[in-house]
Amino acid sequence: MSIAIDTATPPSAPLDEKAAAAEARYAQATQLQLTWWRFRKHKLALVSLVVIVLFYAVAIFADFLATTDPHATDARRSFIPPQGIHFFDENGFNPHVYGLRGVRNPRTFQLAYSPDPSRKLPVRMFVRGYTYNLLGIFETNIHLFGVEGARAGESMFLLGTDQLGRDLYSRILVATRISLFIGLAGVVLSLFLGVLLGGVSGLYGGWVDLVIQRIIEVLRSVPTIPLWMGLAAALPRTWNVIQVYFAITIIISLIGWTDLARVVRGRFLALREEDFVVAAELSGASQGRIIFRHMLPSFTSHIIAATSLALPAMIISETSLSFLGLGLRPPAVSWGILLQDAQNIQVLSGAPWLLVPAIPVTMVILAFNFLGDGLRDAADPYG
């Protein structure tokens, strides 16, 4: 038996320059680039990414986009139905909403506002409204759009008002802030706990692993709603909104870290046996170098994917806790708190628009799930 003499890399036919450049681009692409190229093909995930970015932008600029002070109450304008913007009138293009007219209730003699088609409030861009802090730094009163020349108590109510006469549209915008960032804060905390405990568990194995795994199993086998109820009931009533907010974040992430810890542990266990990790070990590399140079970069993408799938769970947790009255409490505004108003069937039959906050919840959860799916598929560009 003879073996063909090895000819070094065969001289390939001269490629045209473009193909050569494309080849080099692929050959020199980093993990991030490969992941991005694969993620780009996942159109639904891409759209979801845009949706999520928009939602966070709304959360950051909520007050700028709002039209009416979300905390301003006025009993006279309770349960005003959503007001549409009328773009044209007899003079052509002239966006406006109807003003409010006080009507005395013939039975109770209470004064209540209802739309008055005879009075037009012009809708303008960059109008001055209530004062707020932009990004927590600048104090300003400029809003993207709003009405001009409104009388006291009058404004535009795109999605109607609640029982206390607060503008639902503005409240949903402001609620986005707490609902989205509680998820983020919770995930950061779970990520820290998950990577730390999962990493220790996977790396050291033995009894450490055993103990951590049993803790995870116990935590996961406790029914979440009663656990939350217990923990939330333990929060002192005297705490202010910020304190409750952080306490709720911690409660939510106490459960959330277990998933991430499992992912991280699994990756560590799998990677410890990978040939390239063994190769690094055999070349005499230190433990630290093996972990940080070889193992961690191999699963950052998995962590990112797991995180984007954990976020919606956090958001849902906050929403359901607040909906049940166990989470944040008014005057804090979150989607769950807004939905609390929609608990009562009698209120709901009179003012169905109070259910609108469920729409952004659904949208964000779906978008995060699609994004997580796309990221998970793209996470391992070498798989």
Partner: protein, 332 residues
């Protein structure tokens, strides 16, 4: 003095059961293996899957803790250490002397590192300065016949054969005294196998490489090895210089392995005996000779008494009761 002497190497895995994790049995993955490798020599370790050949190689690399036995390794012309008993901390500085070529070139290269960095990794962790590393990487790429442009490319841009060249370059980076090649061509296409085998031959010539070449069949080892050790269920059943072993095997298992080598000549297919049945379970090996349930020549004695590995002259060893009386078929 031999570069490596392995004596009565054992690696057992306890089988634990129950709440108290009591040991209820042992998987004798490697059960008393002895061999040596001389300076500049290539020894092939051959056997079916699960015979313990990979375990032996991992024990030598101290990727596994040895149960018992000695692995005497000459770290220099005058100095010898026993790798089997050395504490883990003292093994690390010795790692540079024994390097490994992996079976799967797709798994053995970190996909997140450029080829240049992969080859330079052993140099870097052993404190070679950057300028020297650059020159050495260039030299190594040339040695394994890879273009210099590979340096800034990632492994995903290369084929299996090319990746294996990178793996070989990495293994050679520190000028190791011994290279353990764990089935370096099994994962490759046949045409590429030939190229890698030729590269290894070339390196043996040029660098005087000492190598432990692990393989699961006899078809590839003929070209690279000076001697062959055949393993079956944790033990060596035959050791012989390559040519003699191929021409006149002494153990029925060697004959069976040789019969499995594809023969280009159809007229030689007459008396071929391919082993029937499954490899014995190392947790529960059969009494007597472990090969007897599959052996066409087995007699009563083989079922009761375990044969020892005994020398038969001219550097040959075999563990078979009937070695002297059998006339076994080899290949030309």
């Amino acid at each position: 003095m031999n570069l490596l002497e392995v004596q009565d190497l054992k690696k057992h895995y306890p089988i634990r059961a129950g709440l108290m994790r009591r040991e209820v049995g042992r998987v004798r993955a490697v059960d008393g293996v002895s061999f040596h490798i001389a300076q500049g020599e290539t020894l092939a370790l051959v056997g079916e899957s699960g015979c313990g050949k990979t375990t032996v190689s991992r024990c030598i690399l101290r990727a596994l803790t040895v149960t018992s036995g000695a692995i005497r390794f000459a770290t220099s012309e005058t100095e010898t250490v026993d790798l089997a008993t050395l504490p883990k901390r003292q093994v690390r500085p010795l790692r540079r002397h024994i390097q490994m070529i992996f079976q799967d070139p797709y798994a053995s290269l970190n996909p997140r590192m450029m080829v240049g960095d992969i080859i330079a990794e052993p140099l870097k962790v052993n404190g070679v300065p950057a300028a020297e590393r650059r020159d050495r990487v260039a030299e190594l790429l040339e040695l394994v016949q890879m273009p210099q442009s590979a340096r800034i490319r990632f492994p995903h841009a290369f084929s299996g054969g090319q990746r294996q060249r990178v793996g070989i370059a990495r293994a050679l980076a520190l000028n190791p005294r011994l290279v353990v090649a764990d089935e370096p061509v099994s994962a490759l296409d046949v045409s590429v196998q030939a190229q890698i085998i030729n590269l290894l031959l070339d390196l043996q010539d040029r660098l005087g490489l000492s190598m432990l070449f692990v393989a699961h069949d006899l078809s590839v080892v003929r070209h690279v090895s000076d001697r062959v050790a055949v393993m079956y269920v944790g033990r060596i059943v035959e050791v012989a210089p390559t040519d003699t072993l191929y021409r006149a095997p002494l153990h029925p298992y060697t004959e069976a392995l040789l019969a499995a080598v594809p023969a280009p000549d159809p007229s030689r297919r007459g008396r071929r005996r391919v082993a029937q049945g499954e490899v014995a379970d190392p947790a529960n090996p059969p009494p007597g000779c472990a090969f007897h349930p599959r052996c066409p020549y087995a007699v009563d004695r083989c079922r009761i008494e375990r044969p020892e590995l005994t020398p038969t002259g001219s550097g040959r060893y075999v563990s078979c009761h009937r070695a002297a009386e059998l006339d076994l078929v080899g290949v030309r």
